[in-house]
Amino acid sequence: MAASPLPASDFVLQMRGISKRFGPVRALSDVSIGVRRATVHALCGENGAGKSTLVKILAGIYPPDEGTIELGNQRCLFAAPADAHGAGISMIHQELDLAEDLTVAENIFLGAEPRGTLPFTIDRRAMTAQTERLAAQYGFPVCAGAPVRSLPAGDCQIVEILKALRRGASLIVMDEPTSSLSEAEAVRLFEIVRQLRSRGLSVVYISHRLDEVLDLADDITILRDGKVVCSAPRSGLDVRALVHHMVGRELSDYFPQRAWVPGEVCFAVRGLSTAKEIHDVSFEVRRGEIVGMAGLVGAGRTDVARALFGVIPAISGEILLEGRRIEIKSPSDAIKLGVAYLTEDRKRTGLCLDLPCYWNITLPNLAVLGMDHFIRPGREAAVAAETASRINVKWGSPRAPAGSLSGGNQQKLLVARWLLAASRFLIFDEPTRGIDVGAKREIYSLLQNLSAEGRAILLISSELPELFGVADRILVMRGGRLIGDFVTQETTPDEIMHLAAVE
């Protein structure tokens, strides 16, 4: 790649020769990175490439084994996060650390509350006023007195950013900030990031979404296996180059090609409504077909899945499986009929993270295995391991806790669960959220293999490239209604986005 090195002028931050080991694992070796003033510096790489370790060193969470950190021209040593804050570095973690029951203002001033006149009191009025002034200064729409619990994910991020600004941060690190945001919230966040840059702040931006990296960044550093493989201005790079650097593969492999050969209608929904969430939704999915479902967060996509799986009750409408009308009142009904649902939040509603991997695979399948009265653990583990090996799950041992696997392998554990259940209709809700490029590609070919075996698949996704890369048809939801049903080849991302986002 012909990418020119970064001009060595005006660095606010330089990390040089950083190395870090965890026991036998070399997380970072000789990593150097320079962040220029008033720029957005994207940090890319697959999971395990060392991005998190690097920013944790920057934030004072880990000490480096070797290497130096310079801020301005001053050498720094961060022993604790408070040191990094003091030096003007603020980190916004993927899982936001806000106190949900406190208000926006209380969160922003947590630990630095303006004092009242009486000892041990807080000047709440000053706190609110300062919060409002800060928010107005940047034009952020937040209400100082609102409890954080009541805010949508995008607003929580703004509170985190305000907290960083209140501390006087000159460099903000954002770790996967858009992973829990809707498309509209993400667009607003990009505006905010640009605004921070225009006011002279530097932003280190970690993301798996290459389109947003290319959209936002001034400079891009790519890590692979704990080493810097590329550090260059954005202008010399494109998606193909990014993917190439990250995985050493070409983009053409990213979405495996396949022929669309739909069979009989497997699953049909007619006029499905729930009490509040969705209204009069009708669609069908054929055997061997992958149907994508697009829409903004809150458009009711997940609620369709939850109604079909018996998590929330349907108040009207009918569901037909292979032509037969079926009743689904609970997940247990759905599973018995061959319907599977891989939820969007695998940690919260998917896996029992501290239980063994093979227990997680067999959890809904004890009856299928003929173990509904008596479990034979040896046979159970063998069957689970055999199923897992069919889709190439990598684990230390079937008895290792599910939480010890990487995100991609955790997702595959859930796929193995439904393979064993011999599910005929599978709903995947954001299956590639928070997993790295290599694992994503594996999930895509898994989806295609499942459909090639004659299963019907509904793929809910917020990433349009993913829908266009994998789905045969694309449904669009908005405001709880199904408002579009397209053959993928006959539509464009612009059309889908417009339909999903414009009233």
């Binding site: 799986f309 247990s332 599973i335 509603t349 959890l363 004890l366 008596f374 479990i375 653990p377």
Partner: protein, 315 residues
């Protein structure tokens, strides 16, 4: 590796205590009768503790076990009083024992129903039923015990040279261990305790399984109640006060996590025996029961602290 250390630690402590006592008091401690005595005394706690283990694994807690012990004992003793004359007939003893066990199971069922149908936290529900069942036990005979002088076999009888109560507790412990390891109910208890939402999305009927777990827990308390009644040949409305604390301590020392999803019957056996041997040892060494409380308190905190440190290391 760390996991093994964690599981072995209570066991090693148990062996150490036994060794120390054998050296200090060889004549008193290392006798068949003393060991049987400790086991006999442990049997009531052990039976209650295995039920509590399943409940804690499922992410719950049962604070009402002590009150249920008293209530089930009172219910069980009642039929034995009404047979007239001086001796309790075999039939009355069987009827009473069954009634006591059934009363325990019904209390457990009530806990389970309140927790699942009203969607209340187990801590709150069983805090309430702890008080209510205790109150009922007092009301039944105006605070007086029911004396059943002939009801001795369960508590002090022997079979094949081993106390009947020890045999019963061994059988129930084995049954519970099999239940937890080899049946869907046991598996689902772990799954619900580990991640209730995930268990629900995997098609598990969470409510039905939780009700079953609390009912079995109550049934086991019912059995323990009849053994306790038989041992003292009277059903005391004051029986089992603060029993829940000893039981929860034993389960936690045995390695179960109060946040659910982990714990084993083997651990609970060790935890229960550890407390029993400590009590026995202190008594043999002439340490007062008041000081025993301090020792046991320290052991509970130490056991959980070691557990936390081991977990932190493992992460």
């Amino acid at each position: 590796m760390n996991k093994w250390v964690r599981q072995l630690l209570p066991f090693v402590s148990l062996v150490l205590i036994a060794l120390v006592l054998s050296v200090l008091e060889p004549e008193k401690f290392l006798t068949w009768s003393n060991l049987l005595n400790v086991l006999r005394r442990s049997s009531v706690n052990l039976i209650v503790a295995v039920g509590m283990t399943a409940i804690i694994i499922s992410g719950g807690i049962d604070l009402s076990v002590g009150s249920v012990l008293a209530f089930a004992g009172m219910v069980g003793a009642w039929p034995m009083l009404r047979t007239g004359g001086s001796a309790t007939t075999i039939q009355a003893a069987i009827a009473g024992t069954s009634a006591g066990i059934a009363a325990g199971a019904i209390c457990g069922l009530a806990n389970g129903l309140l927790i699942t149908k009203l969607k209340l936290p187990p801590f709150i529900v069983t805090l309430g039923t702890m008080s209510a069942f205790r109150g009922i036990s007092y009301v039944m005979n105006e605070g007086q015990p029911y004396n059943v002088p002939d009801y001795t076999w369960l508590g002090s009888g022997d079979a094949l040279g081993i106390p009947v109560s020890v045999l019963i507790s061994a059988a129930l412990v084995a049954f519970s261990a099999l239940l937890l390891r080899y049946t869907p109910l046991g598996r689902y208890a772990y799954a619900i305790g580990s991640n209730r939402q995930a268990a629900f999305h995997a098609g598990i009927n969470v409510d039905r399984n939780l009700i079953a777990i609390y009912t079995i827990g109550g049934l086991l308390v019912g059995v323990a109640a009849m053994i306790a009644t038989s041992r003292t040949v009277s059903a005391q409305p004051t029986a089992g006060i603060t029993l829940e604390l000893d039981i929860i301590a034993a389960v936690v020392i045995g390695g179960a996590s109060l946040s659910g999803g982990s714990g084993t019957i083997l651990g609970t056996i060790i935890g229960t025996l550890l407390i029993s041997f400590l009590r026995n040892g202190c008594t043999l060494l002439g340490i007062s029961t008041n000081v025993q409380l301090i020792v046991i308190g320290a052991i509970i905190i130490a056991a959980v602290a070691v557990d936390q440190i081991a977990r932190a290391r493992a992460d």
